[in-house]
């Protein structure tokens, strides 16, 4: 049994949320720079240049890349040999989120009641935490500040086996067509196939955090990713939706076993910043 102090979790969560909000990943920057060389629209090129310059400024001045610093989403793998001491797991994470958003001048975007009062919690908590218990004695944390311009464009379809890969491809492309300029293209598209309705969306969200440029290890799913990206970039939506041949930077598909009667497909859309950061305790 390895003892991990809850305060270490708080410190790591705080540090990761600050990092994710100030700096985009090298993989994302590389994808944006590649997009700039491939984009045919002059306006699209100007938009990409602005986005890249924005990232440079945000990183050098330690400012939030985007004013929508998102809901705090975390994917955490907790080794089963870990014993957390001096505090509670969930509270430690939420404290880390609160400290990052307070001290990093990040916007608090959480309302306590979604329908009636919609009162800001003023801490950007609660965080939305997905925990897996895994072998080992470490805690691996991936944080994802998730903006809602893109989140609002997400969709779920309970397809069936008869729809096949073609049905999946059409559903993803339709979702992105309808989203148009809204989710801050060029987007990164997470897709979860299989499992249950809820689990499909969780793996879709997690897939967004996969490094850009990596494909699914399964060749047929990798092929589906490539074909879907190609079709999406034929939509003409372009950077900021002002026309162009780069509408998405990547499509990341993950899959799970599912029921004999079903084929859930979840599409979780992320803006061009694709903010996330990972660390290990």
């Amino acid at each position: 049994m390895r003892k991990i102090d809850a305060r270490e979790i708080t410190a790591e969560v705080k540090s990761l949320f600050l990092k994710a909000n100030f700096q985009i990943g090298k993989d994302v920057l590389k994808a944006l720079e590649k997009a700039l060389t491939e984009e045919k629209s002059k306006v699209g090129q100007d938009v990409l240049k602005m986005i890249i310059e924005n990232h440079r400024l945000a990183s050098s001045e330690e400012l939030a890349i985007c004013q929508d610093t998102g809901l705090a989403v975390l994917f955490v793998e907790v080794g089963q040999e870990v014993c957390i001491v001096n505090g509670h797991y969930g509270e430690a994470i939420n404290k880390g989120v609160e400290e990052a958003y307070q001290e990093g001048y990040l916007r608090k975007s959480v309302v306590d009641d979604p329908v009636f009062e919609r009162k800001n919690t003023k801490t950007n908590t609660p965080a939305f935490i997905y925990t897996d218990i895994v072998p080992g004695d470490k805690i691996k944390i991936t944080v994802m500040p998730k903006g809602f311009g893109s989140e609002n464009m997400s969709a779920l379809a309970m397809l069936t086996a008869a729809h096949g890969a073609k049905g999946i491809l059409d559903f993803i492309v339709d979702t992105i067509r309808k989203a148009g300029p809204n989710p801050c293209p060029p987007t990164v598209i997470g897709v979860g196939i299989g499992g249950t309705a809820d689990k499909a969306m969780v793996i879709a969200k997690k897939a967004i955090a996969r490094p850009l440029g990596e494909h699914n290890a399964h060749p047929q799913y990798a092929q589906l990713e490539k074909e879907t990206l190609e079709r999406i970039n034929q939509l003409g939506i372009g950077p900021a939706g002002l026309g162009g041949n780069i509408t998405a930077l990547a499509v990341h598909i993950d899959y799970l076993p599912t029921h004999i009667a079903g084929m859930p497909v979840a599409v979780n859309v992320c803006c061009h910043a694709t903010r996330h950061a990972s660390g290990e305790i």
Binding site: V43, Q67, G244
Partner: protein, 186 residues
């Protein structure tokens, strides 16, 4: 996108009518911020026959909920939010003389019809360029609804705020006209 056009708020009707979809503009003067919660309140005030907290005639509303300002900065990162959420409240504001909106993303048919009728322009700012855009915001003060935090109404004084005329007062719409030029789908 041709040469850049400099415009100043409040917008004269002649300026509004001279702007065409695709024009790249630099805006200077005061902008008023507003997003979901503030729009709901403005709408309710008008429905009750009350005055708005700022004179809306000729003005531009910027759809934004800024991040807090770091010490030494006039304003925190402040890029546009998605505009369609304000659509239900917008036609009434246009009736009252609002001449411009800055945001990102699609607008409803009702908003576009009202823009044509009331002669107003919808500008697109680049979503996610929040730090870059904030550089053009020189002064920021809350003028209404401080209880809403980031959703309060701020008055910004801006210099050369970068935007593109996305939907003009004639209903020309870049989101409709531009993607087909790059579309390859059958």
């Amino acid at each position: 996108m041709a040469e850049e056009i400099r415009i100043t708020t409040p917008l004269a009707e002649s300026v509004v009518l001279s702007l065409k979809a695709g024009d790249s503009v630099k805006i200077s003067g005061n902008l008023y911020t507003g997003r979901d919660a503030a729009h709901k309140r403005l709408y309710e005030l008008l429905k009750e026959g009350k005055d708005l907290p700022f004179p809306i005639a000729g003005q531009i509303i910027y759809y934004v909920g800024p991040a807090p300002a770091k010490p030494g900065y006039a304003c925190g990162p402040a890029g546009p939010t998605t505009s369609y959420r304000m659509d239900p409240y917008t036609p009434l504001l246009l009736e009252k003389g609002l001449k411009g909106m800055i945001g990102k993303g699609l607008r409803s048919k009702e908003v576009i019809e009202s823009m044509k009728k009331n002669k107003a322009v919808y500008f697109a700012a680049v979503g996610g360029a929040a730090v870059l855009i904030a550089k053009s915001i020189k002064k920021s003060e809350v003028i209404a609804y401080p209880d809403l935090g980031a959703e309060a109404i701020y008055r910004y004084y801006v210099e050369d705020f970068p935007a593109i005329v996305c939907i003009d007062a004639y209903g020309n719409n870049l989101y409709e006209s531009e993607p087909p030029k790059y579309r390859k789908e059958l």
